[in-house]
Amino acid sequence: MLIRTSSPIPTRDITDERLYLDRRRFLASVGLATGGLAGALLTPESASAQTPLANVKKSPLSTTGETLNSLDDITSYNNFYEFGTDKSDPKANSGRFKPLPWTVKIDGEVGKPGDYALDDLLKWFPLEERVYRLRCVEAWSMVIPWNGFPLADLLKRVEPTAKARFVEFTTVQRPSEMPGLRSPVLQWPYKEGLRLDEAQHPLTLMAVGLYGKTLPNQNGAPLRLVVPWKYGFKSIKSIVRIRLTSGQPQTAWNVSAPNEYGFYSNVNPQVDHPRWSQARERRIGEFFRRETLMFNGYADQVAGLYKGLDLKKNY
C-alpha cells in the first residue's frame, strides 16, 4: 500500500530558508515594526492569511540539527478540543474565532495585576524565533519555529509576590466561536499550570506566531504557552488569564483523568502512559518511530528543576 508518510515532506511545503529570511528582512526594512499584530485584525481566517511579524530575532536557545515540519503539517494537525476532538477539526472549525483585539488578565499573587492588552505586551517584549521540538502525549512529535517572548520577562514585569509559587493559565471560552465547547470532553474552560520556577525558565515561551507570522487560530491564536520539555497539552492555547498562586492549580487533563495526566507531565520515555508506551514517538513526516528523549531532549537545560523529585510518582 502506498503510504504518504513514508516519503519526505513534499518540497513545496517547505519554505525555502533564504526566502523566509529575505521576507523578514524586507518587512523589517519597510518598517512594519512594533505592534505589528494590528494588521491581523482583518484576516484571521486561514494560515495563509496570517500577518507577518516584524523584527523577530533568532534565539540562541533554538533547537538545532532538526528538520522543521512544514507550515501545512503544523497548521492542519492539531489538538485543540474547543474546536473538536479530531486532529483536523481545529483547522476546519476555527474560522469564526476572532483572536483580536485581545487582553490577558494577570492576577493573583502579583504586585501589578491588571488587564494587559496584547499590543502592549508586543511593545514591551522583543520577539524571538525559537525552534522547539513538540512532543504530544499521544506519541507523535513535530519541530516548530515559534515566535514569541520568554514568559519570564512577562512575569518579571508583573512582579510576583513572595507567596507566588505556581502559575495558572486559562484558555478563552467562547461557545459561539468554539463549537467543541458544546461537548463535555473536558472541564471548560481549559486550564493549565506550571510551578513558578518552570514558568520562569528561559525555555518557557509565550508564543504569538510561527514561521514568522501570527498564530493561526488552530494553533492557539493570538497568545499561547510553549513548554518544550513537557507533553504538548501543557502548552495551553489562546490564553486569557494568568493567575499566580501559592497552591498548585488544577489542570484540565489532570481533572479529567488524574491517573493518566499528572501536573508535571514532563516528557519521559521511562514513564508510560497507562494505556500506551511513551518510549518512542512518530515524528510527523517520518515513517519509522524514533526514541523519545528525556525531557524531550532538553534535559541539559531543565533536569535541574526536578532534582530530588521522583518522576515516576510526579508524572
Binding site: L2, R4, T5, D72, Y77, K87, S183, F288
Partner: protein, 207 residues
C-alpha cells in the same frame, strides 16, 4: 407476499436473482471505504499523520461491517425477509477483511514488525489485548465460513459462529479504551447499536 418459511433456506427465484445481481454492488460498497483511503493516501487528503488515519479508518470500518453483518439476522426476523441471510457471509468476511487491514496497519506501518514492542503492547495495553482477542474470535469464523466447513460442522457451526458476538463486544471495548478525554459518543454509539442487535436476538431466543 410469498411464504418464505417453507422454502427451507432456498429463497424464491425473484429474491435469489436479486441477491446475485446485487452482489457486485455489495462488493463495491464494502470496498469503497478502502478505495477512498487508498485514493487519499496516493493523491493527498490524509492528515500529516496518515498511519493514524489508516489505523483509525480500517478499525472503524471493521466494526461497522461487523455490526452490519450482525444486523442480518435481526432484520430477517423482524421483516421476514429470509433472502437476506445470503448476504451475511459476504458482510462478515468483509468485516474480517477490514480487521486484517487494521491489524496489518498496526504491525507493519505503525510498529514495523517490532515484535518485542508488539508483544509488550499486547500484554500491557488492555485496549490492544482486547483488540487481539476480537481478532482471534473472528479468525476461526473466517476459516470455517466455506460451504464445506458449514456442512462438516453441522449444528456446531452455529454455536461456533456465536463468537461473532464476542468479537463485536471486543471491538466496542477496544475503541472505548483508547478514547482520550470524556468524549465517549463514538464507542457508546457502536455499543448502543450492538445492544439493540443483541436485544432482538434475546427476544427471539426467549420466545
Amino acid at each position: 407476499m410469498p411464504d418464505l418459511s417453507k422454502a427451507e433456506g432456498r429463497p424464491p427465484k425473484a429474491v435469489r436473482v436479486s441477491f446475485r445481481s446485487a452482489k457486485p454492488l455489495v462488493w463495491i460498497l464494502c470496498l469503497a471505504p478502502l478505495a477512498w483511503l487508498v485514493y487519499r493516501a496516493v493523491f493527498g487528503g490524509l492528515s500529516p499523520n496518515p498511519i493514524d488515519d489508516i489505523t483509525d479508518e480500517t478499525g472503524q470500518w471493521a466494526l461497522r461491517l461487523l455490526l452490519v453483518s450482525l444486523a442480518v439476522t435481526p432484520v430477517r426476523r423482524l421483516t421476514g425477509w429470509n433472502g437476506i441471510i445470503q448476504w451475511r457471509r459476504l458482510l462478515g468476511l468483509f468485516a474480517f477483511f477490514y480487521v486484517c487491514l487494521h491489524l496489518a496497519t498496526y504491525v507493519v506501518l505503525d510498529q514495523f514488525f517490532d515484535l518485542a514492542s508488539i508483544l509488550a503492547d499486547v500484554a500491557k495495553r488492555r485496549y490492544i489485548t482486547v483488540g487481539v482477542a476480537g481478532f482471534l474470535c473472528l479468525l476461526p469464523l473466517a476459516v470455517t465460513s466455506t460451504t464445506g466447513w458449514i456442512r462438516r460442522l453441522g449444528r456446531k457451526w452455529q454455536t461456533l459462529h456465536r463468537l461473532a458476538y464476542v468479537a463485536a463486544v471486543c471491538g466496542v471495548v477496544h475503541l472505548l479504551w483508547i478514547v482520550k478525554g470524556d468524549d465517549l459518543r463514538e464507542p457508546f454509539t457502536y455499543g448502543a447499536i450492538l445492544a439493540v442487535l443483541m436485544a432482538v436476538r434475546v427476544v427471539y431466543w426467549t420466545r
